[in-house]
Symmetry: C2
Subunit: 284 residues, 2 copies
């Protein structure tokens, strides 16, 4: 197995199983054909054709679009189709920089193949010339990817909070990192991918941060989402990423990006160009 296998797994998808989802006249996502059929039951929110799912005409404002879609989604959740409702609104729009056209419950976002954003942080400790990386194990009770390995801190990016503010909040809740220490996290880029799931499509962007921690810092989870933390020599992390699928799919990319930036995967790796390019995919 190789790092490139992890990148390929994050990007495994077949667009022929989807049709475009349009809002405000622009494509903002992708919907599986079967789910499109379900959406036809909500003509106040969606107009469904063979070629696309389009927001219903007359939904001209952020509030109107959000309300119409929300009503449909709550009925789909009541029917048991959309599960894991979180009451976390995500932005829906053509890009991260443009104002969103509507907001949508996080649990529904992959069903609509809308690009989601998040923050992922590599927490590391220098150890002489070496590096140790903090690894989290997700709680066995988490609705998604229970028990899998994860980055030290990671969280989705809802509406109404800045990226940095969100990172500081997640640092405190997930790992007990005080705000003064979390403020030292350095933004170092982003990874992007397009991953198909049972529900739909995740053409997502994760903003990446590095935080060098003092050797004696001990993370403590406060929100019940993390079952354990491990401080592994980077070589063990590298083997685990390269040779196993124990990490949640997108956390592998965040670690591979760390390894590239810190010279731990170098151009001597025959896959180097494909790895470096593969960490950042334009959306479909």
């Amino acid at each position: 197995m190789s790092y490139l296998d992890r990148i390929r797994e994050c990007n495994a998808h077949d667009l022929s199983r989807f049709r475009p989802f349009l809002a405000g006249g622009v494509r903002v996502g992708w919907v599986k054909h079967g789910f499109a059929g379900r959406l036809a039951a909500f003509p106040d929110a969606f107009r469904v054709s063979e070629s696309a799912v389009v927001l219903a005409p007359g939904l001209d404002t952020f509030a109107a679009r959000t309300a119409a879609v929300d009503e449909a989604l709550r009925r789909l959740a009541a029917d048991g189709l959309i599960t894991g409702w979180r009451d976390e609104p995500y932005p829906v729009g053509p890009s991260f920089r443009d104002p969103p056209l509507l907001q949508m419950e996080r649990a529904a976002v992959p069903w609509f193949g809308v690009r989601a954003y998040g923050v992922h942080m590599n927490g590391y400790v220098r150890d002489g010339d070496g590096i140790r990386l903090w690894v989290a194990r997700r709680s066995p009770d988490k609705p998604t990817y229970p028990g899998m390995l994860d980055n030290m801190v990671a969280g989705g990016q809802p509406v109404g909070i800045g990226l940095r503010e969100n990172l500081v909040k997640e640092c405190e809740e997930e790992a007990g990192i005080p705000p003064g220490l979390a403020a030292r996290a350095v933004p170092v880029g982003a990874v992007s991918y397009c991953h198909e799931t049972g529900e739909g499509l995740k053409p997502d962007v994760q903003f990446t941060f590095d935080l060098e921690l003092p050797p004696d810092f001990q993370p403590r989870n406060a929100d019940g989402e993390i079952a354990a933390f491990y401080l592994w020599p980077v070589e063990r992390v590298m083997e685990t990423v390269r040779d196993t699928t124990r990490f949640k799919f997108n956390c592998n990319l965040v670690i591979i990006d760390f390894l590239v930036r810190h010279g731990l995967i170098g151009p001597g790796d025959p896959d180097y160009v494909d790895i470096v390019t593969g960490l950042r995919r334009p959306p479909p």
Copy 2:
């Protein structure tokens, strides 16, 4: 002006002005239609049609392909079309990891739209909490981009030398960095782009390195390619990249990548996602 302008300039091209160039049955480049017409005069090397330029049948080995193409190129150089012959063979093939199908004189590579590779190094000095970056000014006598600003060390990647070895050699020749110091350069990734020039297309990859230098280190050029070195506060480098076109086109990307990795361009920049994604383009 913005960082994104620099990325767009590096990627400005119109493939409708080109036709594919195939070797060994695979596309390895792109040729401008006018140049394709000139290549029809060399049927021992090329078969030219409206839709493609293909290596002549029967050229079944690396040596045979290289010799046939070289003979044609030397005649085109003698005719004054291909200028700036350097006697530096570049690899030609479908990817960096695969063995090349032939080698081709560097001066001819953009004419064939063959992907070229190089090494670019950011030399920097820590200054309290700040960073200063070494900037080179290219000699006014250089055949390409004379007098423009450049990264501290940069060089093309010919056949027969490893990337690290090439970087150490360029460090010594271009900036007088001794091998022991150059060995501390950290590989940190790569930038890629697709740039159209008068000759043809440059769908190139530059492997990037960072080297932190002692504050008292003074670069000295030995090969006549650099007219001067400046140690600029990073803020001045940022303004120059963002607001001017004084740097050679691809050096801007190497610096923008440095700024992203060091947190000096952060996700607060509205263009952040486009910048981060734009630094690494798959080849056309």
